[in-house]
């Protein structure tokens, strides 16, 4: 009898035993299903992986298809980058928070900008009222950027900037700041998010219509591939897609579909795939279902590698490697019993580490209540340090590989995500799918289903719909200085009085011309930043040429 036959025979006996047990003690639920709607079986065995070819499906860490990770030694060489997303109020306050985080052992910076900055308005714009400095730091000009990084040598940190529509402008500010610190561009390491497609479907900070937005993105790819070779020119983000309500499978599918659209656009713009492919990076969510998440990261790596190789003909191994940042799931945090969030975050962070993340943000326990306090941020960072230094999970590469369940689930997520990707491709790609509202509707339906599961107690959230206690709402929450907007407006006035107005106009005319002729926008934007043009002025110049995106509310 072969090994598999012996297992089959043993499984038949096991099933008999199960049948008897079920008569005495039924299971908790009639059927077990994960958040992606994938059935979860009672037990997994080699029978679930009958045709499993190790070399084809997994290979070794650092080898195609990179299921087991993109580096041969993973965290045995160096831990992931511990990078807490932070920013609020003025550049000065945020700069203080950065020094605090770096002193606490954080290894990379991650800039949160306020909404006016993200949508290309200066702090004195009418639509910025109420929003200045709230969800991030307010940056109007190079002046603010200088304050933000005061005392931080740019060749010593890697910096991630969550900026999309105006990414080219913030990137230019960072480059000019490097010039002022006498640091050459090739020493700079970091990431700009620069992922417009998920803004249309899930996050909302778009400015221009899709076509010119894609053009700006490919301009950045082209410019940075030559001038800023260590910079990640995009962080293709599933995080916000998941936060908007998508399932794990939808997160992988919609994110990778967007990724392929950027690759396609850049190739059509004349860039060879291996010039920009190695600088593409990703950003995923680490949600509550621990094993589903681990499998998700592994499946995403495999789909990316195969598609880059087979569909786009990438040859450079770095173009095939899906490198990603992870953040724990803000949407799983509860305002009730906020201390419980520390535990949620720890499990989610652990799934990201077991999934092989390159960098990680752990959410703070008080995020369902307000911006994180300093103490909450410290616990969040300590959670990562604990996983790294105490748990031992970082000592061997991809330790869950070979688990019958993990491998089966990785295959299943890959297949289901690929089916979605194919559907989107048939529709004409993500831009068309977003214009038709397809992606938004898929996400909304999942979000509504999730909420109904909670309200019917089908899905238990500890402290929310079970194990509740009477509690007082916490008081020690971070409050943003309400005078930030006034101070920013004063600074803008001062800036405008001091700078050479003619030089600004000339530089903005250069931006306009490039926007009209289709020349690469990075050089004129750099010139405008050097001339002290504001973010709002540069964006308005682009708005004049490109127009603004009008979203149809698909509800």
């Amino acid at each position: 009898m072969s090994a598999l036959e012996r297992i089959k025979a043993a499984k038949a006996k096991y099933e008999e035993k199960v049948a008897k047990t079920l008569q005495k003690m039924p299971e908790r639920k009639p059927a077990f299903v994960n958040t992606s709607g994938i059935p979860v079986e009672r037990v997994y065995t080699p029978l679930d992986l009958e045709d499993f070819d190790y070399m084809e499906k997994l290979g070794f860490p650092g080898d195609f298809p990179y299921t087991r990770g993109v580096q041969p030694t993973a965290y045995r060489g160096r831990f992931w980058t511990m990078r807490q997303y932070a920013g609020f109020g003025s550049a000065q306050e945020t700069n203080e928070r950065y020094h605090y985080l770096l002193n606490a052992g954080q290894t990379g910076l991650s800039v949160a900008f306020d909404l006016p900055t993200q949508i290309g308005y200066d702090s004195d714009h009418e639509l910025a009222r109420g929003e200045v400095g709230k969800v991030g730091v307010a940056i109007d000009s190079l002046w603010d950027m200088e304050t933000l990084f005061k005392g931080i040598p740019l060749d010593k940190v890697s910096t991630s900037m969550t900026i999309n529509s105006p990414a080219a402008i913030l990137m230019a500010m960072y480059l000019v700041l490097a010039e002022k610190q006498n640091i050459s561009y090739d020493k700079l390491r970091g990431t700009i998010q620069n992922d417009i497609l998920k803004e249309y479907s899930s996050r909302g900070t778009y400015i221009f219509p899709p076509r010119p937005s894609m053009k700006i993105i490919t301009d950045i790819f082209e410019y940075c591939s030559k001038e800023v070779p260590q910079w990640n020119t995009i962080s293709i983000s599933g995080y916000h897609i998941r936060e908007a309500g998508a399932t794990a499978v939808q997160e992988v599918a919609f994110t990778l579909a967007n990724g392929f659209a950027y690759v396609d656009a850049a190739i059509k713009a004349g860039l060879p795939v291996d010039t920009f492919g190695p600088r593409l990076s990703f950003f995923f969510n680490a949600h509550a279902d621990f094993l589903e998440e681990v499998a998700k990261f592994r499946a995403a790596r495999r789909i990316w590698a195969k598609t880059m190789k087979e569909r786009f003909g990438a040859k450079d191994p770095r173009s095939l490697m899906l490198r990603f940042h992870t953040q724990t799931a803000g949407c799983t945090l509860t305002a009730q019993q906020p201390l419980n969030n520390i535990v949620r975050v720890a499990f989610q962070a652990m799934s990201a580490v077991l999934g092989g993340t390159q960098s990680l943000h752990t959410n703070s326990m008080d995020e369902a209540l307000a911006l994180p306090s300093e103490q909450a941020v410290q616990v969040a960072l300590r959670t990562q340090q604990l996983i790294a230094y105490e748990t031992g999970v970082a000592d061997t590469v991809d330790p869950l590989a070979g688990s019958y369940y993990i491998e089966k689930l990785t295959d299943e997520i890959e297949a289901r995500a690929q089916a979605y990707i194919d559907t989107i491709e048939k529709m004409g790609g993500p831009v068309v799918a977003i214009e038709k509202g397809y992606i938004q509707k898929e996400i909304q339906e999942s979000a509504y289903r999730y909420q109904k599961e909670i309200e019917s107690n089908e899905r238990i959230i500890v402290g929310l719909n079970k194990f509740q206690v009477q509690e007082e709402k916490p008081k020690e929450l971070l409050k943003v200085d309400p005078t930030v907007r006034d101070k920013q407006i004063e600074r803008l006035k001062e800036l405008k009085a001091q700078r050479d107005a003619a030089a600004v106009s000339q530089a903005l005319a250069g931006v306009k011309e490039a926007a009209q002729t289709g020349a690469n926008l990075m050089p004129p934007i750099l010139a405008a930043v050097r001339a002290m043009a504001t973010l709002g002025e540069i964006c308005d110049t682009l708005r004049d040429v490109f127009g603004e995106y009008e979203a149809a509310p698909f509800v």
Partner: protein, 133 residues
């Protein structure tokens, strides 16, 4: 004559893009038999008030997770007062610190729903507090 359905304007004031909550509420209110008009993102208080009057709604339900509620929500109730509108029930929701709630209510927001609130609570609140029939 059939009973008029409760009409709700669901709105996202300000620049905040977090629309998961408001969209879930739109779906739940519709399933509860209400008529819901969703404004989409980035609405100014002026746009919200004029849409509410034009659509003749009974309820304005606003959501804001960016922290700008302290300016935006009271601005909507202020504009309603300026226009002499008294019979629209105004609700707010989002990441709203406890200590901000009394001021918001004093400005005329009938109720503030924070994380953990259920769609059933919101539906019941609307049915019990609607100001016109």
């Amino acid at each position: 004559m059939p009973e008029r359905k409760i009409r709700v304007l669901a709105a996202k004031p300000g620049l905040d893009g977090h629309d998961r909550g408001i969209k879930v509420i739109c779906a739940a209110l519709r399933d509860a038999g209400m008529e819901v008009i969703y404004t989409g993102l980035r609405q100014t208080p002026e746009q919200i008030v004029s849409a509410a009057i034009q659509e003749d709604v009974d309820v304005i339900a606003m959501s804001c997770l960016s922290g700008a509620h302290d300016y935006l929500f009271p601005r909507v109730t202020e504009l309603l007062k300026e226009k002499g509108v008294q019979d629209i029930l105004v609700l707010g929701g989002g990441i709203i610190p406890e200590e901000d709630i009394p001021t918001l209510k004093a400005s005329g927001i009938a109720e503030i729903f924070t994380p953990g609130a259920t769609t059933t609570q919101i539906i019941d609140f609307i049915r019990n507090n609607i100001r016109r029939n």
